[in-house]
Subunit: 155 residues, 2 copies
DNA sequence: CTGCTTGCAAAGGATTTGCACCTTA
DNA sequence: TAAGGTGCAAATCCTTTGCAAGCAG
């Protein structure tokens, strides 16, 4: 299981995917795409909306929701389910990866493993339970080193 | 990692815990506790409410929410976070377990492992990322054997 | 008895929807 | 220029809260 580096060119990639899927490339969509694709932080619709308005003051919250919905359908972003709710999104990374989220700042790292341990675990679970396993979720929560440092300094 | 058997006496156990915590044992609370403690299925507040009303027609939805809140605070039930939301609850099982949820019927099984593989994974992730890991979530989704059988029959 | 609980109804928030106007392809 | 997309505001949906009346301890 190894740390996955940040990805390049996500923006043009996502725009292309939206286009292929038959969606039009409008100014508001470009703004929303750029905001999420370039964020290494978990983002709620409100937060995306506020950032979007800085660039494009007339954009509406509904448009943000509609764009997020499409990106999620296309699998380009995914929900992060946290104890306090599950309305936050992050970019999906290629391959089978698992997010690690900082509880202080929302920063996300990704872990990916070929010959995924969890996949093997999942086969074991399937055998014992009799279920057909379709999917698994694995998410880690903690505090990133930067937030730990800040905390140490403020004491 | 092994399948965890269903638990006995959850109801009296939970009532005792509520009592110890200083809460009163009222009729509506007993009803809600019985419904969730005896369910091996994921349950949303609405569903609990509807079942509760069959037994106790005057019970209010707010009471259901308030009881669920207490049970969650005491760690007796936990939220199941699914792609479509995270408002469903199931009983918490002793020890470190991971739920396996049927996407058709909501049935839940639990897996638990001593010397948890995921815990070891989590240490590895901590080293590579520099994060302090506080928690991890692992959930499996699939179709239980009963739902598969039903499906096969109806074709 | 005392104060925690309840049911009801109203309030609050987040998300979705309807619609006339605008833009992309 | 047609169809899809937008912003706005209203509508919905889920959850929480305020309060007088009802019970558990």
């Amino acid at each position: 299981m190894t740390l996955v580096p940040a990805q390049q060119n996500l923006v043009s990639d996502w725009l292309a995917r939206l286009h292929e899927a038959g969606y039009r490339l409008t100014a508001p969509r470009r703004v929303v795409v750029e905001i999420i694709a370039n964020s290494r932080y978990v983002m709620e619709p409100q937060a995306v909306y506020l950032l979007a308005r800085q660039r494009s003051p007339r954009i509406g919250l509904a448009t943000v929701y509609r764009t997020l919905e499409k990106l999620e359908d296309l699998g380009l972003i995914q929900r992060i389910h946290r104890p306090d709710g599950c309305q936050a999104f992050i970019a999906t990374v290629e391959g089978h990866q698992h997010p690690l989220i900082c509880r202080r700042c929302g920063r996300v790292e990704y872990f990916s493993g070929d010959a995924d341990i969890v996949t093997r675990l999942s086969q074991h679970v399937a055998e014992e339970s009799g279920y057909t396993i379709q999917e698994h979720w694995l998410q880690f929560f903690g505090i990133c080193s930067e937030c730990r440092r800040k905390e140490a300094n403020s004491e």
